[in-house]
């Protein structure tokens, strides 16, 4: 039954491998180092956001504000670098601080005012996007030597693929998140909260601290994703990353984490991200879908992956005698 815990993860990995193999069978070019490097680079900011989202969803919450936080961070960086002489590194630190504090504030609101995360973070989403507009409605280019230097840091693989520093950051974030979630008390408390907040409280989990920490992590990682995004586009734009929260949620869910909380793995999220990236790459390679068919196909594939998971999970649990479900839960 140990494997039944990790089963969704294995299913996601298997799905990814199968899907990739199918794509390569049709377009051999998709095995090139370029495509692999692009999967990492292009999805770096989404992946980092999804890590934070995994924390939140594991705890039974949801964070709709991440897309706006990314946009805000980008605009903030661009405006600060344009209008002040601050070094980008200090600007990064400042941006991370703002995003983290913002997340923590949402966490505190959720905990102390007993408001549902969906609504608190929805309001947060409006607020951050609004603040980004207030900073600048125009797209502000970032033209700083440091940015150029960061962008020039990459390893060119045979075949032309460029493995960039942001891709590395993505992998590091996932690594750290895995350690935090599985090997620290905070991480286990996240799972505990997701199992049942009430029970966790009775078991002595510091709910206030944990909730605040979770949303602070999500906010902070969204801020980090904002930095990555600003490196990616060398600009800050208040209209950027609209709807990214839904992409991140979808990636987390495809990665096998239950939206009801308490069950899932951050490694699954990684493959969730890769699957979403693969879908897009495939659509570009195909190149024959109209705008509307693109949407329909993305929705259809989302549905397919969910059903695939359901089906596999059902196949594997049907053989294990059904738990009585009588474990007390609130």
């Amino acid at each position: 039954m140990k494997h039944s815990m990790k089963l969704p993860l294995y299913i996601t990995v298997a799905t990814f491998v199968l899907a990739y193999a199918a794509c390569v069978a049709q377009y051999p070019n998709m095995l090139s180092s370029r495509v692999i490097a692009n999967l990492l680079t292009d999805n770096a900011f989404l992946g980092i956001t999804a890590v934070g989202m995994t924390f939140v969803i594991l705890s039974g919450g949801i964070d709709l504000s991440v897309g706006s936080v990314i946009a805000f961070t980008g605009v903030f960086l661009a405006v600060v670098l344009r209008d002040t002489s601050l070094h980008p590194l200090s600007a990064f630190a400042l941006a991370l601080l703002i995003a983290t504090v913002f997340g923590a504030a949402m966490g505190a609101t959720i905990h102390y005012l007993e408001m549902p995360p969906f609504i608190v973070t929805l309001a947060g989403m409006f607020l951050m996007r609004g603040l980004a507009y207030v900073l600048s409605t125009e797209s502000v280019p970032i033209d700083h030597a440091f940015y150029g230097w960061l962008q020039s840091l990459y390893w060119q693989a045979p075949g032309g693929g460029r493995f960039r520093i942001t891709g590395l950051l993505l992998l590091v974030t996932f690594g750290v998140a895995m350690v935090v979630l599985h090997r620290t008390r905070l991480g286990r408390n996240v799972y505990a909260l997701g199992g049942s907040a009430q029970t966790a409280q009775l078991m002595g989990v510091p709910c206030a601290r944990t909730t605040i920490a979770i949303y602070a992590i999500s906010g902070g990682l969204a801020g980090l994703a904002g930095i990555v995004f600003s490196l990616y586009t060398s600009a800050g734009y208040s209209l950027a990353t609209v709807g990214t929260e839904l992409d991140a949620i979808a990636a987390v869910v495809i990665g096998g984490t239950l939206l009801s909380g308490g069950s899932g793995f951050v490694a699954g999220t990684f493959f969730g991200i890769m699957i979403m990236g693969l879908i897009q790459t495939y659509i570009v390679f195909d190149g024959s879908l109209s705008s509307w068919w693109t949407k329909i196909v993305i929705g259809g594939l989302l549905f397919t992956f969910i059903m695939l998971q359901k089906g596999l999970a059902w196949l594997t649990t049907a053989r294990i005698p059904r738990a009585n479900g009588s474990t007390a839960r609130s």
Binding site: R183, N189, S326
Partner: protein
């Protein structure tokens, strides 16, 4: 041990108000090191509330708590844990999505270089659980084990956390004898080390077996603290209820039962219950006995269609019957009062009134709402008949004490006027008064011609009302007792026959 004059925990003037309810009124509790202190009272007397106030799970409205002579003011369970008070709250309060080991060590996992030391945690868990006679794999999810095992894990966790005081709120509700004995031996070991233990239960025999003193609550007030060596069981019951309880006599004039109501042949569900035969007559109470996990609940669920059977056939009054959903069962006037009130019975936020008429309304269909007057009449009459204690009928049912919730659920099913009533552990967590009432009710329903199927872990109770008892083991029917054969000893013998050692 009472020679030690200094109490380890001394709570005075504890008061707690809920909107419309005074749950605790100026309650005093003294615990001496090395004693097992029973906290007794009817359902809704305020026992669990007192515990939650003591450990900070609820903020109290008044009162002082002294631990070892110093005032403490726990504002959440975490701080009382830190102060050395370990608690098992009512209903298993563990996290089924974590492993057994993590449940044992949540919040205090052993660490190496700041990281959780998984290996050590598993090893320590094994050692701890071994003290309770459990040799299970602590790396598995908690939810993969039965409620009984979960309960033991909860106790083990609380014991590990209790430096000074251990509080157990109805820990034995879902344990059978053997496990209770094991638990008692652990408690004795702890008290020998000077720990104070608070023990809440509705089983007076267990109280007499292990406790030294008892504090009795009624309607949120302390009505007395007694040394158990100096009182009789009847006195305690009288204190709890504020009245005398008629002796629960095992009057067993074996009456003729009516026609066969439900007849099961080769009835079973793969992986859940092996095929069995059973006839239930009108005017008959069929008891189901067995150890934990013997398949009683699954049998009940199969007949009710909650986990539909996949083999065999059923006949209702002679005509074939296939039940694959609870709705079909209800339509055939079969009712099931489930074992797990909280998740399968009550609809917490709905009022007691709505909970009582819910099944009747569901059967009538949404387009035929019950008239208001009728609803009021039904609800009122059952509240009166079953003596359900509540502020008013608009109270959300989740605010009722466990026993009263159970009675409200019974009312829900009685309102549908079933011909077959299945009761799964109808008296779990119910106080002595209500217990007697429910037994009397079962008897009354039977004489009115209803057929009942009752699963219970309490042999005496089964013996008191059953006209026939089937015994289950390992999801298999292994025996049946009728007439004068019915006695606790006979049941135990039937269960124990060729019993293999437990895993």
């Amino acid at each position: 041990m009472q020679s030690d004059p200094k109490p380890v925990l001394h709570a005075t003037g504890i008061s707690k108000f809920f909107p419309g309810v005074i749950a605790l009124d100026d309650v005093e509790l003294q615990l001496y090191p090395g004693e097992v202190h029973a906290l007794l009272g009817e359902n809704g007397a305020g026992k669990s509330t007192l515990i939650k106030c003591l450990t900070g799970a609820y903020p109290r409205d008044a009162g002082v708590i002294m631990l070892d002579g110093a005032e403490i003011n726990p504002k959440d369970p975490l701080s009382s844990q830190a102060a050395g008070i370990g608690t098992v709250y009512q209903e298993v309060n563990l996290l089924s999505n974590l492993s057994v080991a993590e449940n044992l060590f949540l919040g205090r996992q052993p660490r190496r270089f700041g990281m959780i030391d998984q290996r050590r945690m598993l090893r320590d868990s094994k050692d701890i659980l071994a003290q309770y006679g459990l040799s299970i794999d602590p790396a598995q999810l908690l939810s993969s084990y039965s409620i009984a095992i979960q309960q033991i894990v909860a106790i083990a966790r609380a014991v590990e956390l209790s430096g000074k005081v251990l509080i157990l709120d109805e820990p034995t509700a879902s344990l059978d004898r053997e496990e209770v004995e094991l638990m008692f031996s652990v408690i004795r070991r702890l008290t020998a080390r000077g720990l104070a233990v608070v023990f809440i239960t509705h089983f007076l025999d267990q109280v007499l077996a292990i406790c030294d003193r008892a504090t009795i609550l009624r309607n949120g007030c302390v009505v007395g603290t007694r040394k158990l060596a100096e009182v009789t069981q009847t006195e305690i019951v009288t204190l709890m209820l504020g009245r005398q309880l008629e002796a629960a006599t095992h009057h067993h004039e074996r009456r003729e039962t009516g026609d066969v109501l439900l007849s099961l042949r080769g009835f079973g569900k793969r992986g859940a219950i092996e095929p069995f035969d059973l006839d239930i007559h009108t005017g008959e109470v069929v008891g189901m006995a067995g150890l934990l996990g013997s398949g009683r609940t699954e049998t009940c669920n199969a007949i009710f269609g909650a986990q539909p059977a996949d083999q065999g056939e059923a006949r209702l009054r002679g005509s074939p019957l296939r039940i694959s959903t609870p709705r079909e069962a209800i339509r055939n006037r079969i009712a099931l009062c489930p074992e797990d009130r909280k998740t399968e019975g009550i609809v917490g936020d709905l009022s007691v009134r709505e909970n009582i008429i819910l099944s009747l309304q569901a059967r009538q269909g949404w387009y035929r709402p019950l008239p208001r007057a009728k609803i009021e009449e039904i609800a009122q009459s059952y509240v009166k008949a079953l003596d359900i204690r509540l502020a008013n009928l608009d109270t959300p049912i989740r605010l009722l004490s466990g026993g009263n919730q159970q009675k409200a659920l019974l009312a829900r099913w009685l309102a549908t006027e079933p011909q077959l009533l299945i009761l799964d552990e109808p008296t779990r967590g119910i106080d002595v008064g209500a217990h007697a009432e429910i037994i009397a009710l079962i008897e009354r329903l039977r004489t009115q011609g209803m057929a009942l199927l009752v699963a219970s872990s309490e042999m005496e109770e089964l013996v008191a009302y059953s006209t026939k008892i089937v015994v289950l083991r390992d999801r298999r029917q292994v025996g049946a007792l009728t007439g004068d054969d019915i006695s606790p000893n006979a049941i135990i013998r039937a269960i124990a026959a060729e019993e293999e050692p437990r895993a």
